[in-house]
């Protein structure tokens, strides 16, 4: 079965919003083994939508549209598709009831144009919308399957998960599972180089994904028996971990900060942080983890030399002799924050985020990361590429990874 996604909305063609819906659907369909061969985006214009839908019907078995199901005159998806398929629109009793219930619940008077949302093509199935008013639609006709989903991403995603995915998996008469391995400390091309032969595998398939200083690898297996499908995934995971396991920090949707936060809480290791070039980003990431207040005490962003001396007790001689961006300063910052906070662990970062601040022997992107523990203080240096925000982000992830490795006794 090959699929086409049609995204409907003039705001897309004006560039006012990014088409995250199409990406979500592409990813989700790929993960259950359905090939997306085309994606089309068209405005709220009946003539053009009609021609796009006719083209899609000729070349695709499954068509999923998003957008244009709302109550206004601009919303033309159902009318247009029903017209192409030669179907009349009729009121769906349950859909109307659920729209009425929605307005009662939010205590807003329902206007007449909202009734339009309960109209669906004759012979189709209305898909309930738990997040909004516009129901989705499923049509099966002439061996083609058409799903019409609402445009707002939260409504679209909930409806996809609840109605579309189970339907497609059932029809596929097979089982598809996937697992994502998340990497830190290795670039996309080095990772691909190390698993080049495995990337050619058919079942399970492997798909590398890169973004924001991190790399992921999705393993997807198909089959008819759940146990065998899981075995395929676990065998592939073993092969990958045998080669690059030390760079794997988590699986599926886990972020590095969630992973680190969980270990800190589980092991009851308290932590405080001293940041210079990252400017609070490490603490910001860590405090995105709910419940982190159990172990995270404080972070001091010491941007000036004066604040490094006053807040962390960094000796002025060290700043004078070695500079603020040095192994000695990073070490003193980590030891200083550990001491003033009384936390078990002290993490510190100092570096040059650019664009200015470089010296002949200290380039933009040079970053020192130090971790002070009850046993000792370790410090490593790195040179990151990219603009200011990218250097900050890479430095923050690298610091969190140093912490993670210490917590689980990795070298």
């Amino acid at each position: 079965m090959n699929a086409e996604i049609i995204s409907i909305g003039t705001e897309l063609l004006l560039g006012q919003i990014l088409n995250t819906n199409a990406q979500y659907l592409s990813k989700s369909l790929a993960s259950i083994g359905i090939n997306v061969y085309y994606r089309t985006e068209v405005g709220d214009n009946q003539k053009r939508l009609k021609s796009v839908f006719e083209t899609a019907l000729k070349r695709s078995d499954l068509i999923i549209t998003t957008g244009g199901l709302g109550p206004t005159e601009d919303d033309l998806t159902k009318e247009t598709i029903a017209d192409v398929l030669g179907l009349e629109l009729e009121e769906d009793f349950e859909a109307l009831q659920s729209i009425k219930n929605y307005f009662e619940k939010i205590k807003v008077k329902m206007t007449n144009n909202n009734k339009k949302q309960a109209l669906i093509p004759k012979g189709s199935i209305a898909l309930p919308n738990r997040q909004g008013t516009a129901p989705g639609v499923l049509i099966e006709k002439n061996n083609k399957t058409v799903f019409m989903l609402p445009g707002p991403p939260n409504e679209m995603m909930a409806m996809y998960k609840e109605h579309v995915e189970p339907y497609l998996i059932k029809r596929g008469q097979g089982i598809i599972k996937s697992k994502v391995l998340k990497f830190i400390g290795i670039g996309e091309s080095s990772l691909e180089e190390k698993i080049k032969d495995l990337l050619r595998s058919d079942n399970p398939t492997l798909a590398p994904l890169a973004g924001r200083g991190e790399v992921s690898l999705r393993i997807t297996a198909k089959g008819t028996e759940a146990k065998k499908v899981e075995e395929k995934i676990s065998n592939m995971e073993k092969l990958i971990r045998a080669r690059v396991g030390k760079y794997v920090y988590g699986v599926d949707d886990e972020t590095l900060e969630e992973c680190v936060g969980k270990i800190l809480v589980d092991k009851n290791q308290t932590i405080s942080i001293a940041e210079s070039c990252t400017g609070g980003l490490i603490a910001d990431k860590l405090t995105n983890v709910p419940g982190i207040s159990k172990v995270f005490d404080r972070c001091i962003v010491t941007y000036s030399n004066k604040s490094k001396i006053e807040e962390l007790g960094v000796p002025p001689e060290i700043l004078n002799s070695f500079g603020a961006v040095s192994k000695e300063t990073a070490t003193a910052m980590a030891e200083g924050i550990r001491k003033v906070s009384g936390s078990k662990l002290g993490l510190a970062v100092t570096g040059i985020a650019g664009p200015s601040g470089a010296t002949p022997d200290k380039p933009v992107g040079l970053v020192y990361v130090a971790l002070s523990t009850p046993e000792n203080t370790i410090c490593k240096n790195y040179v990151f590429n990219g603009r200011r925000e990218i250097i900050k982000n890479r430095a923050a992830l690298t610091a969190l990874n140093m912490l993670r490795k210490y917590l689980i006794n990795l070298p």
Copy 2:
């Protein structure tokens, strides 16, 4: 002239990357008055690309493709489009020379497959690529204009700005200018409500854009005389500012932190920050501004009550009587950070980012923002909706906006 954008790459159809190229081109074309009626995304597959391009030729005057210009076997854009247009590929001398120069510059040996990048359809024009090796291509044939641009966003954007936009503006024989007004402290729907009548304007047009707690409004005017076009924009800007000017913090690409950072540096007002629920996000944002080290001294993220007492001198009685999330604590934090840092200004935030931590009289999303100045300390409270990260972001933007209003004497 109506345009179609064709994005080429299997990674798009797998959902591995978001199609930011199509959004950039859509926005840019809209800003010079060119209507994009269709966008299509197709994989690295000759047959399907061919059919997509043939369809586009029938319905669009201007076709811009991105992707598929690289040196590998997967890169098929030039071959396929030349084939459809009945043109042969030939080596472009200058393009080859510039690829050779690129490899010399980065001191890497050029491989044979890189020569493929210098092939362009006969009669077309090669567009130099300053950021990479693959040149772009411009073809004019049968009243159709085709631009082929590289896939990597930095290469694509640079080439668009340098070659495509000037060409299209010249051909359009008209002048189109736009200006974006950036808002803070007002929601999209309230803003639209207040300028409803202006949104119907034809020339200039107004397009609202929302994202990440901020709202923008793009004013776009067309005409034949630069002076008159600018007048149209400035008249519309005046109308808008007369109604909602107090929410406008900047124009075009400026971020709130850049705006605030610039005023701080210009006025030489030093600042330090105390954060609780925002966890370092305000300092992270502010330190994204190059040169901020001139005025930003330090930030203390006091997550625990103990750290609020030790680092900022918040009296334990205040924490006991009013709680960590209170007007009294926020005020003591702002005054405390101002005192310990010696900065002219002290900014502080305390609140409940959720999902836990709410009490019967203090809901999730309750946030106090305080600013201590040489004159006095002001404190305001807010209740933000959304999940943990969204509450943090809204609180951080609101704190920066309080600072901005103080710096420019807004009530």
